[in-house]
Amino acid sequence: MSFSNLDQLYRQVIMDHYKNPRNKGVIDGDVLTVDMNNPTCGDRIQLQLQVEDNIVKDVKFDGEGCSISMSSASMMTQAIKGKTLDDALQMSELFSDMMLGKDMDTADLDLEDIEALQGVSKFPARIKCATLAWKAMEKGVHKE
């Protein structure tokens, strides 16, 4: 059989982030920590942000979940590290648009690997998996 539809969802780069997550772990010391879960499925994430002068100096995540939620978390941390909080929030908005299948203007922001998650928009039941880490980040930034 062909896995062509599934290949759209489970792109190589996604599986790479799932198997080899970037920025996974905890930051020592007193940093902003956000815990979030998806109560309908049990996925959970802990996100830590070290913010200095409005810039994400360091970010780490920990948690348990499916390939989509964990790879999305890995990609998100990679994307926002070193960015300003405003840029991080703008990326989150772009990501939401991407999940809704909207056209995006990514001219100003480099979404890096994240565009690989575009296929998720065709699997409505999995969109919440992909957005979990971004929601956690938004919550953290609004706390800051």
Partner: protein, 406 residues
């Protein structure tokens, strides 16, 4: 039992999903509906729609007759003494909450105990947590064996003279464990406690006899037994229901209303405030007719056969973990090693196979199993051995797919 003839009566099963014939293996979440149920609801709205117990007009009588006729069907289905003991409501959750609110909060005081098990659905845990908090009673758990069953010895140890309520599921929605509810009821009664049985996964699959079981309350949902969503049943022994206060007050449930106080209708209507789910009750009656025509003994035997076959076939897959006891109801909860259940469910869906993935509203049980989530294939009378074969092929493909991308 001619399964193909049964299957043909379920219109929803006759479709393709992602280019494959639908294999529906999520009946523990909700069962599909046969044409007779769909038509009963349709006919009611087309020909008889009216409010019940009010109108003098012909439609009002027809609607009332059909609604009360459905109650009688439910009474016979679970072998209750009287239709006064059959309360229509929204579902199992509502039934348990009615008992936890009306009975428990009025009968419990500090030092009293409520006994449940760790295999309960959230809807048979949280109402008791809340009742315990409100009354300073203690919530206790009967421990689970490593295969996800309970022993009567542990029930005897956990239930004491201080226990006022035992609440236990008939069939676990995750493990498929069938609990010895009749024996548990006996132990509860010996200690002066009452017992509520959560029948959400029992009534659709096993012949229920509430008198033989000697349970005090039995709660179940219509939609898991081929009936419509939004209709459920709480059975309660008459003397207990008589002693209980209604939970919802308003129309339909009153006898006399004065400016400063009111009196209630007799059973079962005192617990049915507001316009009831008339079409839902009529649809549930049709579902009961459908199940009776096949025979609940036959349904149970067939599902038992299907469960054995599923376990046997699924056990041939390398790196699969199956949770629950060997002897079980027709559902199999599992995980493929290294593949998250969501991912398994997505790959299976691409093959037209519908399974549930997640914590199945049983977070304490997930902790006990030491997993965050699982996949579950649950069967009903319209599933075939071929469906099991398709599932096993789908799981092998899932392994292949994730083996390749890693």
């Amino acid at each position: 039992m001619d399964i193909n003839a049964i299957k043909e009566q379920f219109p929803v099963l006759n479709q393709e999903i992602n280019g494959h014939p639908l294999v529906y293996l999520d009946s523990s979440a909700t069962a599909q509906k046969p044409l007779s149920v769909i038509e009963a609801v349709n006919d009611y709205y087309r020909q008889d729609n009216s409010n019940v117990h009010r109108g003098v007009h012909t439609l009002g009588s027809r609607a009332t007759d059909k609604y009360e006729g459905a109650r009688e069907k439910v009474r016979r289905f679970i072998h209750a003494e009287s239709s006064a003991e059959i309360i229509f409501n929204r579902g199992t959750t509502t039934g348990i909450n009615t008992v936890a609110t009306s009975y428990a909060r009025h009968h419990l005081t500090a030092g009293d105990e409520i006994v449940i098990t760790p295999m309960e659905h959230h809807s048979n845990i949280i109402p008791w947590q809340q009742a315990a908090k409100a009354t300073n009673a203690t919530l206790k758990y009967i421990p689970l064996q490593s295969d996800g069953t309970i022993t009567l010895e542990d029930v005897r140890k956990t239930v004491t003279k201080n226990t006022k309520i035992v609440a236990i599921t008939h069939v676990s929605n995750v493990l498929g464990t069938v609990n010895p509810v009749k024996e548990v009821a006996k132990i509860a009664h010996e200690n002066g406690a009452i017992i509520l049985v959560d029948g959400a996964q029992g009534a659709p699959h096993i012949k229920v006899d509430v008198k033989d079981m000697d349970c005090d309350f039995y709660a179940f949902s219509g939609h898991k037994m081929c009936g419509p969503t939004g209709i459920g049943v709480l059975y309660g022994k008459r003397e207990l229901l008589e002693s209980m206060e209604p939970v919802e007050f308003g129309g339909e449930m009153i006898d006399f209303v004065n400016l400063y106080d009111s009196t209630w209708k007799e059973l079962p209507w005192k617990f049915e405030g507001g316009t009831p789910v008339i079409a839902g009750a009529i649809g549930l009656g049709a579902a009961i007719d459908f199940l009776n025509e096949i025979g609940m003994d036959k349904v149970a035997n067939y599902e038992h056969e299907l469960a054995d076959y599923a376990i046997e076939r699924m056990n041939t897959i390398d790196d699969i973990e199956i949770y629950g006891p060997e002897k079980r109801a027709a559902l199999v909860t599992f995980n493929l090693k290294g593949v998250h259940p969501h991912d398994t469910a997505t790959v299976l869906d691409a093959e037209g196979i519908a399974v549930r993935a997640g914590h199945h509203c049983a977070q304490p049980l997930m902790k006990w199993l030491d997993v965050t989530a699982t996949a579950r294939a649950s069967f009903y009378l319209y599933n075939t051995k071929e469906d099991v074969d398709i599932l096993v092929d789908g799981l092998l493909k899932t392994k292949e797919f994730f083996g390749n991308v890693f």
